[in-house]
């Protein structure tokens, strides 16, 4: 494997915290879609702020920003209840490769659905780091994003309040075929045709 080189906008040493690419407010939805089923939800997703400390955390199931996890891992692991970890659009999954064995669920908070970076994050988590836990997209995630996020490796979603989850389930069956592999293990169209010929 080639060595990974650091590019200009990745500064692992001094990781930015409250960038515009991070969710600005906590997210707590009553429902989620997990493995294409609507289920109740109690996970409290804690937004990243410059001042956030481990003492500010709510009780119960939570997801925390990666920075908080890295700084307070032992303390967080001692909690009862779920501690999921967020990877923001402007973070890079390869920077946390050593952590995934300890993280039960990864949350991809999307500030704007037109920002496609989380798709690549999910893809890398599944294909490169072989992450088997739940990958959940939250934030500005609606009906029309669910199918491609699923193909890229997400298997759980929380939609903004007001979205109709029943209708959104149609997203999973709209497209019945695909041309290319992604994290869904699909084959390239040409290799499928090769098999036929």
């Amino acid at each position: 494997m080639a060595t990974t080189k650091t590019v200009a906008n990745r500064a692992i040493k001094a990781r930015a915290k409250a960038t515009p690419d991070r969710i600005q407010n906590d997210i707590l939805s009553t429902k989620a879609i997990v493995n294409q089923q609507i289920v109740g939800n109690a996970i409290h997703h804690v937004a990243e702020t410059e001042e956030l400390t481990s003492r500010d955390l709510p009780k119960g199931d939570i997801s925390v920003p990666m920075n908080l996890w890295l700084d307070h891992k032992t303390e967080l692991q001692a909690r009862t209840g779920l501690v999921a970890v967020q990877i923001a659009a402007d973070e890079f999954p390869e920077d946390f490769a050593d952590e995934y064995a300890d993280i039960p669920m990864i949350v991809l908070p999307m500030v704007a659905h037109i920002d496609g970076r989380s798709y690549s994050h999910a893809y890398k988590l599944r294909t490169r780091f072989n992450y088997k836990g739940e990958i959940r997209a939250i934030g500005d995630v609606k009906y029309d994003q669910l199918s491609f996020l699923t193909r890229s490796g997400c298997n759980a979603f929380e939609l903004p309040a007001g979205e109709n989850l029943e209708t959104a389930l149609n997203a999973f069956s709209e497209m019945s075929d695909v041309y290319q592999p992604s994290a869904d293990g699909g084959a390239l169209i040409f290799s499928r045709r090769r098999a036929v010929h």
């Binding site: 496609g116 690549s120 199918s147 019945s176 041309y179 040409f190 090769r194």
Partner: protein, 552 residues
């Protein structure tokens, strides 16, 4: 040409129904206009000044007669009886109703057409050489490669929400007619020392506000790796391209900011993770795909035709058309015919429904039922017998499609400008008319020879003015329309951006200024130099002096 199999049909018809659902959720108030916008854009539907505009994909510019008839029918049934062929080899309809668009797409899917990814920040239609398969300078036929990339990039789940749009072009000839150095990725065929087929890969070219000539990221990419390498470039771009400023979001800005060497290192490191995986292509994939683009059933013919030769002597108009609008073919006894969509007084690239039907019929009768769209907004009949040229000319002429101006000043590229575009600073179609009127004397046009004139109504550069031998850019000066001229741009192998002539010119003086530039050229040219060659030899100053000399 490529024929859909069950998979292609399923994907296209599912996408039509998905889009129908998106539109009806919108009309029912369940999907906001803001949320619909990026979705409709990814299916070619824009909102313009007057109405919606639908851009339909013509993969690498290739159309069958049946498809051309279908486009004519769409323009008749759902639009105002015309369509506009674009610089990226697509077609646009300017007046469809939102509620009709799903039906339009359904009709088009019956002839294996779609509007998938013709706009929006995703991978766009793959463009290529309009003489593919018939050019005398062709090394390999680029069409199978285009189709392979088209399928891989269609509804690619990871690259649907890029920082900005992404355009890929492929050329397989020594003369680059696909402007590969002005695309986000440009693929130029090359053989390596072992005589294997591969591509030189350019990255980060583009026009728009910041015109940049693409840089070589890989000197030789074996053909079996084209998809994985493109995927690596796209992933690096998706993750690192700027998203905070849409004018700095194209890959060209990222490549310039990182430097091509660091960018290459990043791509190679990414590529190493999966280069020999599922995306690797096999020889049989190319063979299977090439079989969709067979040589047509040519007859064994001698070059030259007596009747055509005789009529060239007898009829000046036919001779002019033959000399300007037809091109040598690899097959003896055949020629390539260009159909000019630059008739005087018509917006460049526009064709009416009856013209489209006529072209489809002529292609059916004389050119194996195929038509190509060029990035210079003309059409091509690629496989015409020389002995049929006179008949074709008459048929085209009857529908005003035989204007003998291909490659001349009047064969200009021109964006919609103020007439249709909300971003325009200045009108371009009326300036095109002004220029057409100034150069009505075809003898004079031929004397001037090849001049690629390209005009944009604002710095977004839809009309590619940076790479015009003469470029015209509309600028706004205190609410008035002014025009900035450049000389010496070139989109082909010796890619160059035009040099500024000087300060902007008033609207009514544009064609005079072009006249001045061409006068200087005629004075200074040696032998068979084109304007571009003369400019390269003498520089901008003589042109500048003449154009600005008459000012008070």
């Amino acid at each position: 040409m490529y024929k859909y199999d069950a998979v292609d049909k399923t994907i296209v018809s599912d996408r039509v129904e998905q889009f129908r659902g998106q539109v009806s959720r919108h009309l029912a108030g369940e999907l906001s206009a803001a949320d619909l916008a990026p979705l409709r854009l990814r299916n070619g539907l824009y909102m313009q000044i007057h109405a919606h505009m639908l851009r339909v994909s013509i993969p690498y510019g290739l159309l069958s007669s049946e498809q051309m008839h279908a486009l004519a029918q769409v323009s008749r049934q759902y639009d105002k009886g015309y369509g506009h062929f674009t610089t990226r080899q697509n077609i646009q309809f300017n007046w469809p109703e939102l509620a009709d668009v799903p039906d339009i797409l359904k009709d088009l899917s019956n002839v294996e057409m779609h509007a998938i990814q013709t706009s929006g920040n995703c991978i766009r239609n793959i463009s290529s050489d309009h003489y593919a398969g018939v050019a005398t300078d062709e090394i390999i036929d680029p069409r199978p490669y285009c189709e392979i990339i088209r399928q891989w990039s269609t509804l690619h789940p990871e690259f649907y929400w890029l920082p900005r749009k992404f355009k890929i072009a492929v050329t397989g000839a020594t003369q680059d007619r696909a402007a590969v150095k002005f695309h986000d990725i440009g693929l130029e065929v090359v053989h390596n020392d072992a005589n294997q087929v591969g591509f030189r890969v350019y990255v980060g070219g583009g026009l728009g506000r910041t015109p940049v000539i693409g840089k070589v990221i890989k000197e030789f990419l074996p053909r079996e790796d084209i998809l994985s390498y493109c995927e690596a470039i796209l992933r690096v771009y998706n993750l690192h391209g700027r998203r905070d400023n849409k004018y700095k979001a194209r890959i060209k800005i990222l490549v310039n900011a990182m430097g091509i060497d660091d960018f290459r290192d990043e791509v190679e490191a990414e590529w190493a993770h999966f280069k020999d995986g599922e995306l690797k292509l096999h020889d049989v994939d190319f063979e299977t795909m090439q079989a969709f683009f067979p040589k047509p059933a040519y007859q064994e013919l001698e070059s030259g035709d007596e009747r055509v030769a005789k009529w060239r002597d007898l009829d000046d108009r036919f001779k002019a058309w033959y000399d300007n609008n037809t091109v040598d073919h690899i097959q003896p006894g055949y020629r390539i015919v260009n159909i000019s969509l630059k008739e005087h007084g018509v917006a460049p690239g526009d064709a009416t429904d009856s013209q489209m039907d006529a072209i489809a019929n002529i292609a059916e009768q004389f050119s194996f039922g195929e038509i190509r769209v060029t990035h210079e907004q003309n059409l091509v009949l690629a496989d015409v017998r020389e002995q049929d040229l006179l008949d074709i000319w008459k048929a085209l002429d009857a529908d005003r499609l035989a204007t003998p101006n291909i490659g001349s000043v009047n064969d200009m590229i021109c964006c919609p400008g103020l007439d249709f575009c909300s971003l325009a600073n200045a009108s371009s179609i009326s300036v095109a008319k002004q220029i057409n009127e100034k150069f009505e004397d075809f003898e004079e046009l031929y004397n001037i020879g090849e001049v690629k004139l390209k005009m944009s109504g604002c710095m977004n550069a839809c009309g590619h003015h940076h790479v015009g031998h003469i470029g015209i850019l509309g600028v706004d000066k205190k609410g008035e329309e002014w025009y900035q001229l450049t000389v010496g741009g070139d989109a082909s192998n010796n890619a160059a951006l035009g040099t500024h002539l000087g300060k902007a010119i008033a609207k009514d003086k544009v064609s005079d200024a072009i006249g001045d530039i061409l006068d200087v050229y005629k004075d200074l040219r040696s032998d068979d130099e084109r304007l571009l060659d003369t400019f390269r030899r003498v520089g901008i100053d003589p042109f500048k002096e003449k154009v600005y000399s008459e000012e008070v």
